[in-house]
C-alpha cells in the first residue's frame, strides 16, 4: 500500500519522524534541487487513508535538514542555504520563533541532543564549522573548527554527554567534545567526501559513515585503523546513513543511485534488502521509533532529481515497511 503526498516542484532533503507523535514527520525541502530558489518545511501526518499536511512554511532559501525538539513536541529546527537556523512552532506560528544566522555558508545539518538533562542543538555548515546552540537559538555557545572541507553531517552521541560526530568533504569523521570545545578524534574514514554519519544506539563506540566512494563504513572509535565493516553495493554516493533504533547491528543507507539499502554489519552477507521504488536521488531517510513490530523497515525517504525530463520534477518521500506496505509521500509532480 502506498500513501502519496504531492507538493509541486519541491525536492526533499531530509525527513525526521517526530519523537512524540508516531505518525508525524517533518520534511525539509527545496526548490530546484536545492540549487536555487526557496525552501519549504513541511509537517505531515500519516492517516488511515493517506498523508495529510499539518503545516508548511516557506523560507527564502533552500532547506537542507530538520530536527525535532526532544523536549517539546511542537518545536523543530531547520537549517538553510542562507546559513540560518530557524526555530519553528507547529502549534501556532506562521513565522519562525527565532532565526539565528551565524554560519557564513549553507547549513547542511542540524541535530537536537537526545540525552536527558541536556538540551542542545548542533549545526554543521559548508563554512567548515560546527556550532552548538542553546535550544532557544539565542546565540551559538561554541564554534568548532578543524574540518578542512564542508561539513555535511553533525549528529549527537546518544550516549556521551556533550559529544557529537561530524562528517565532512575533507574525508574525515570527527568526534567533538563540546565542553572542551575540542576535536577528540579525527578519522580519515574515506578517501572521498563523507556525506553522512550516525551513531549506533546500543554501543557508544560504534559510528557509521557513508561517502561519495559508494561505501558505508562502520567504525569502532576505540580502534579506527580500519573499519569494523565496509558495506559495498551502492552504485553512487551515499547521501544518508542511519542506525536502527531497534537493533545494534542494523542500519539503512540511501543514495544517489535511487536505492535504499538495509544492512546488518554483523553478518557475512550484510546486505539485508535493497528498496528500489524510487526513480530519483534518495536524500533522506528515518526509522520510525514508535512502531517496534514493523520496526526496522519503517522508513521515510526523500529524494530529488537532477533529471530535467519535461516539467515533471519528482520528489518522493516514501515510507516502507517490511511487510511490503509502502507509505509514500511524493513531493511534486
Amino acid at each position: 500500500m502506498t500513501k502519496v503526498f504531492r507538493s509541486p516542484a519541491h525536492h526533499g532533503y531530509a525527513v525526521e519522524v517526530s519523537p512524540f507523535i508516531p505518525n508525524r514527520v517533518a520534511c525539509a525541502a527545496s526548490q530546484y534541487y536545492g540549487l536555487a530558489g526557496c525552501g519549504t518545511l513541511l509537517v505531515l501526518d500519516e492517516t488511515e487513508t493517506g498523508v495529510s499536511l499539518v503545516r508548511s512554511w516557506q523560507w527564502s532559501d533552500g532547506l537542507f535538514d530538520v530536527a525535532w525538539s526532544e523536549a517539546n513536541e511542537h518545536l523543530l529546527v531547520a537549517g538553510g542555504g542562507d546559513g540560518s537556523l530557524q526555530l519553528w512552532d507547529v502549534a501556532n506560528h506562521n513565522t519562525p520563533l527565532r532565526v539565528a544566522k551565524e554560519h557564513a555558508q549553507e547549513v547542511y545539518s542540524v541535530d537536537w541532543s537526545q540525552i536527558r538533562g541536556e538540551n542542545l542543538l548542533v549545526s554543521g555548515s559548508w563554512d567548515q564549522t560546527a556550532k552548538v546552540w542553546d535550544p532557544a537559538l539565542t546565540q551559538s555557545l561554541t564554534t568548532l573548527r578543524g574540518h578542512e572541507g564542508v561539513i555535511y553531517s553533525t549528529i549527537w552521541s546518544p550516549h556521551i554527554p556533550g559529544c557529537f560526530a561530524s562528517a565532512s568533504g575533507d574525508g574525515t569523521l570527527r568526534v567533538w567534545d563540546v565542553k572542551a570545545a575540542a576535536c577528540r578524534l579525527a578519522v580519515p574514514a574515506h578517501k572521498a567526501e563523507i556525506l553522512s554519519c550516525d551513531w549506533c544506539k546500543y554501543d557508544q563506540n560504534i559510528v557509521a559513515t557513508g561517502a561519495v566512494d559508494c561505501s558505508v563504513c562502520v567504525w569502532d572509535l576505540r580502534n579506527v585503523r580500519q573499519p569494523v565493516s565496509q558495506l559495498g553495493g551502492h552504485r553512487y554516493a551515499i547521501r544518508r546513513v542511519k542506525f536502527s533504533p531497534y537493533s545494534k547491528t542494523v542500519l539503512a543507507s540511501c543514495s544517489y543511485d535511487f536505492t535504499v539499502r538495509f544492512w546488518d554489519f554483523s553478518r557475512n552477507q550484510p546486505l539485508l534488502e535493497t528498496v528500489e521504488h524510487h526513480s530519483e536521488f534518495v536524500c533522506g531517510l528515518d526509522f520510525n521509533l514508535h512502531v517496534p513490530n514493523q520496526v526496522t523497515h519503517t522508513i521515510l525517504q526523500t529524494c530529488f532529481s537532477f533529471v530535467e525530463k519535461s516539467q515533471i520534477i519528482t520528489v518522493a518521500l516514501k515510507m516502507t515497511t517490511t511487510s511490503g506496505q509502502i507509505v509514500q509521500i511524493e513531493l511534486s509532480k
Binding site: G81, Q105, W126, E148, L195, V212, Y236, R239
Partner: protein, 407 residues
C-alpha cells in the same frame, strides 16, 4: 555556482576511480648552472640514470614492471633517443622495457608525463616512468634544422624563429609589464628559493648525484651534488635594477629577470590507480586534467594564461580551488603577465621559487615542477589541488592539474 559544483562532485564516483592516473613518487637532481655549475662536466645520460634508478629504488619497484619509459629532452640530437636508451641500461633496466623521448620544448618533461598518462588511460600500459633531462652545459640552443625559404612568407612561421628573449620583450611591451615588476618578481623567486633551501625543503625531492667536475686547473674531482647552485640569497632589487637589457637596447628583460641556463634531470613514476594499489605503492598525486594550447609565436610566453584555464575547465575547478601554481619562470615578464591575467594571488605562485632562481634545464623542467609541486602539497598535509604550467617556444602553453589526496 558552488552548490551545483558540490552536488556534481557527489555524482562523480570516478573521483577515486580505479582507472585514475596517479603519481607514485618523483625525484629530481639538483639543478646546476650551465657551464659553471656542478654538472658542467656531467653527461645527460648520467643525470637521467641517477633519477631513474633512485625513483624505483625508493619505492622498491623492479624496473621490469614498467610498461614504458618516456623522457623529455630538447637539445640532444633527435631529442636524445640514443642518450635515453643508454641511461636506461646504465640504470640496470632490462632490455625488455622500452624507452622513447619527446620534445615539446620547455614542456617536454610534462609532456613525457602526459604521454605516459595517455598510454595508461588507453590501457596499453599500467605503470610507466616519465622523465626529463637537459644538459645545457654540453649543448646549446642554436642549429634550427632545415627549413623552407617559404617560411619568410608566413608571419607566424617567421615568428617561430624569433629569439626567446625577444618574445619576452614583446610580452612586456604589448602588455605593459614594467621592468620594476619583473625585477620584483625575480627577487621574490630568489628569496623564496633561498628560504626553501635553508629550511631543507628540497632535500626530500633531490637525489644526490656523484659525478666528476673538472676544476680550473684541468683536474678531475669527484663530487657529491645535492644542492641547487643557481639560488642567490643576496639578490637585491638595486642589484637587479643595474643589469643591462640582455636582448634589446632599451628593453626590460635582463639576465636577472630571466630563467637561468641549467643542467638537471627529474623522474616521476606514474601508474593506473588499480595497478598501483595492487602493488602496495603509495599515491602521491592524482592527474586530474591537462591541456596544451597554441598562442601566437611572437608572444609565446603568454601560453600559461590560456593553458591553465583550459586545464582547470576540464577539471571542473577554478583558480580559487588551487592551492599552489608551479608556473615556469621562463621570463619574469611572461610569468607576471600570466599571473595577473588569471588573477592568481602571488602567494600561490611558485612558493619555493622558480626557474629564475633554480634554473630552467629545458627538457627537465616540467617533470621537476611536478616533483616540487607534489612535495609542497604533501608538506602542507591536506588534500589540495595544484597546477603545473609553462610557456612553450614557437607559441604554446601547457598545464596540468594534480590533486594531492591527503595524508
Amino acid at each position: 555556482m558552488q552548490r551545483l559544483k558540490v552536488i556534481s562532485g557527489h555524482l562523480s564516483p570516478a573521483d577515486h576511480g580505479p582507472d585514475d592516473v596517479v603519481v607514485v613518487h618523483g625525484l629530481r637532481t639538483a639543478i646546476g648552472r650551465a657551464k659553471r655549475g656542478s654538472f658542467k662536466d656531467t653527461t645527460p645520460d648520467e643525470l637521467l640514470s641517477a633519477v631513474m634508478t633512485a625513483v624505483l629504488t625508493d619505492v622498491g619497484l623492479p624496473p621490469s614492471q614498467l610498461g614504458d619509459v618516456c623522457v623529455g629532452n630538447v637539445l640532444q640530437p633527435g631529442a636524445g633517443a640514443l642518450m635515453a636508451r643508454v641511461a636506461h641500461f646504465l640504470s640496470g633496466f632490462p632490455d625488455s622495457v622500452p624507452v622513447y623521448t619527446v620534445n615539446r620544448q620547455c614542456s617536454s618533461g610534462l609532456q613525457a608525463l602526459l604521454n605516459i598518462a595517455g598510454a595508461i588511460m588507453s590501457g596499453s600500459i599500467s605503470l610507466g616512468l616519465a622523465c626529463g633531462v637537459e644538459s645545457m652545459s654540453l649543448r646549446s640552443i642554436g642549429e634550427p634544422g632545415d627549413l623552407s625559404s617559404r617560411m619568410m612568407d608566413s608571419d607566424k612561421a617567421r615568428d617561430c624563429i624569433v629569439p626567446m628573449g625577444i618574445t619576452s620583450e614583446n610580452v612586456a611591451e604589448r602588455f605593459s609589464v614594467s621592468r620594476e615588476k619583473q625585477d620584483a618578481f625575480a627577487l621574490s623567486s630568489h628569496q623564496k628559493a633561498a628560504r626553501a633551501q635553508t629550511l631543507g625543503l628540497f632535500d626530500q625531492e633531490i637525489v644526490s648525484v656523484s659525478t666528476k667536475l673538472v676544476d680550473e686547473d684541468g683536474k678531475d674531482r669527484q663530487v657529491m651534488v645535492r644542492k641547487d647552485d643557481g639560488i642567490r640569497p643576496g639578490t637585491t632589487l638595486a642589484g637587479l635594477a643595474k643589469l643591462r637589457p640582455a636582448f634589446k637596447p632599451g628593453g626590460s628583460t635582463t639576465a636577472g629577470n630571466s630563467s637561468q641556463v641549467s643542467d638537471g634531470a627529474a623522474a616521476v613514476l606514474v601508474g593506473r590507480r588499480s595497478a598501483v594499489e595492487a602493488l602496495g605503492l603509495p599515491v602521491l598525486g592524482v592527474l586530474r586534467a591537462s591541456a596544451v594550447v597554441g598562442v601566437p609565436p611572437d608572444v609565446m610566453g603568454i601560453g600559461p594564461a590560456f593553458a591553465i584555464p583550459a586545464a582547470l575547465k576540464q577539471a571542473g575547478l577554478t583558480v580559487a580551488d588551487i592551492d599552489v601554481f608551479e608556473i615556469n619562470e621562463a621570463f619574469a615578464s611572461q610569468a607576471v603577465y600570466c599571473v595577473e591575467k588569471l588573477g592568481i594571488p602571488l602567494e600561490k605562485v611558485n612558493p619555493n621559487g622558480g626557474a629564475i632562481a633554480l634554473g630552467h634545464p629545458l627538457g627537465c623542467t616540467g617533470a621537476r615542477q611536478v616533483v616540487t609541486l607534489l612535495n609542497e602539497l604533501k608538506r602542507r598535509g591536506r588534500r589540495a589541488y595544484g597546477v603545473v604550467s609553462m610557456c612553450i617556444g614557437t607559441g604554446m602553453g601547457a598545464a596540468a592539474v594534480f590533486e594531492y589526496p591527503g595524508p
